[in-house]
């Protein structure tokens, strides 16, 4: 069994239609919306702000705190039970680690930067869409960063490596691996890497190169969205 034609007719190295907008939540220090196909992620940054309880403060550097959440009606199947789950807590944790390498947290000792990511609608690739939105929101908040972080999930579908997998592809019965990747395309550093599913080393390396290609395209959209936010009237 082999997966040659993609369910939605895309090429193996083609992203779903993407759309980005920065400054969508006026109350927040920074915010962004990122849509990739039917996956829509909203991110808001509050801070740097005072961190309580005080014992959590680090006098050497600020703390980045991410919260990933799916809205109750955002799942493909049953209603998503509100509140943190093991899954959402782990994703929040890996999102922090995905964003940290490009942020200069030493500029904000004893403070916290809160990043709230809400998934409004989902069709796989939610942690990647969340990270991509969060990176734009952090830039919008004026946090000093070495680079943007861009993220996309790549997958092995049968014998093919494909870019930006959908839920339908995730459920493919013929054997698949789902590999979310986040990276700084400027430095080539991978800041998030996970995998669910069988892969050879060669397939993994091929997947990483494909992810980089996708991230470079996403980054262009991120930069354009940030420029649009700050261009004069």
């Amino acid at each position: 069994m082999n997966y040659k034609e993609r369910y939605d007719g895309r090429k193996v190295d083609e992203l779903r239609p993407i759309e980005a907008k920065v400054g969508v939540i006026p109350r927040a220090t920074g915010s962004a919306l990122f849509k990739i196909g039917k996956t829509h992620a909203l991110a808001a940054v509050y801070g740097p702000r005072e961190l309580y309880p005080q014992f959590l403060q680090d006098p050497q550097k600020g703390i980045l705190r991410c919260n990933y959440n799916m809205l109750a009606f955002s799942g493909a199947g049953e209603r998503v039970r509100p509140g943190p789950s093991r899954r959402s807590r782990e994703i929040s944790f890996v999102m922090e680690k995905a964003l940290l390498p490009v942020i200069d947290m030493e500029a904000f000792p004893s403070t916290v930067i809160d990043v709230f990511v809400e998934l409004v609608q989902t069709d796989a690739g939610t942690r990647c869409a969340g990270i991509t939105a969060a990176a734009m929101a952090l830039a919008d908040a004026g946090i000093p960063m070495k680079d943007l972080i861009s993220a996309v999930a790549v997958g092995r579908m049968g014998g093919n490596i494909v870019l930006d997998v959908t839920k339908e592809e995730e459920d493919y019965e013929g054997g698949m691996a789902d590999i979310p990747v986040a990276m700084s395309t400027r430095t080539g550093e991978v800041t998030l890497l996970q995998d669910d599913g069988d892969l050879t080393k060669e397939e993994l390396m091929k997947a990483l190169h494909l992810a980089k290609k996708g991230c470079e395209q996403i980054k262009k959209v991120q930069i354009q969205a940030l420029k649009n936010r700050y261009k004069g009237e």
């Binding site: 890996v94 390498p101 590999i179 550093e189 996970q194 995998d195 669910d196 993994l204």
Partner: protein
């Protein structure tokens, strides 16, 4: 940079580790099966040097999930006991224990360690759920690899309990072992400064900048990945770490 990290980095750059081991050398490994034969359906103790983890398997009967009516299921839980490390606290699960459980879970699930079809008792009505609980008793570093090895050992040790009158007769085990079909094992490779090491001790973990946990099957296929740590990794780093894990998991499998 704190003084301990500086010390670890300086030593590693000279090719030295805190306890004199080679960079790719695990501490002595001990796997013991059936440590709680009266109460659990399967159990194991794993020691990697001073790090000690106990794992128990309990079996339950539940209704299958609607999307997988002919399959059983697996649940992995880890609790970082305050008894094992002064930094662990009682209370609701910390993110570290959630990550540990989910990473071990991903390795076993994606590596198809247990044949879920053979855990089905009656399609759409009854299935076996294999519940694996992981507890560190002493944390001297590398809980990920110890937990992965311990979970697989406990699953290998487990037998189905006897069912009488539609109820599980806990304490009475049948001769039938769990349907273990693959042996996925995890190796966590750490990058500290420019050095790669496996099986870190506590000070090495505290100095670590990036880690990659790689679950590998018998034939060298990767089945799960989890990157951790505050720094990024280059493609070359990842390739190197995967090569290390493929080699080291083959060695770890020899202890099962």
């Amino acid at each position: 940079m704190d003084i301990i990290k500086q010390h670890v980095l300086t030593n590693l750059s000279k090719g030295m580790r805190e306890d004199g081991r080679q960079f790719m050398e695990y501490r002595p490994i001990l796997v013991e099966y059936g440590i709680s034969p009266k109460s659990s359906e399967g159990s194991a103790r794993v020691k990697i040097g001073g790090t000690e983890v106990v794992v128990g398997v309990k079996m339950e009967i539940m209704e299958p999930y609607s999307d997988k009516p002919d399959e059983g299921s697996l649940m992995i839980n880890a609790e970082l006991l305050p008894l094992s490390n002064p930094d662990f606290e009682s209370g609701p699960p910390a993110i570290e224990s959630i990550e540990l459980a989910r990473v071990v879970d991903r390795g076993l699930r994606e590596g198809k360690a247990v044949d879920f079809k053979k855990l089905c008792i009656k399609v759409g009505e009854k299935m076996w759920v294999v519940v694996v609980d992981i507890y560190p008793l002493n944390d001297e570093g590398n809980l990920f690899d110890a937990a992965s090895l311990g979970a697989l050992a406990a699953i290998k040790d487990a037998k189905f309990p006897i069912i009488e009158n539609d109820h599980i007769q806990y304490g009475k085990l049948s001769d039938k072992k769990l349907p273990v079909q693959h042996l996925p094992l995890e190796c966590t490779v750490w990058k500290i400064g420019d050095s790669f090491i496996v099986d870190p001790g506590k000070t090495e973990e505290a100095s670590g900048e990036a880690r990659l946990t790689i679950a590998v099957l018998e034939d060298g296929t990767i089945c799960a990945l989890q990157k951790g740590g505050d720094k990024g990794l280059s493609f070359q780093d990842i390739e190197k770490m995967v090569e290390i894990a493929i080699e080291k998991t083959a060695e770890l499998r020899g202890h099962l």
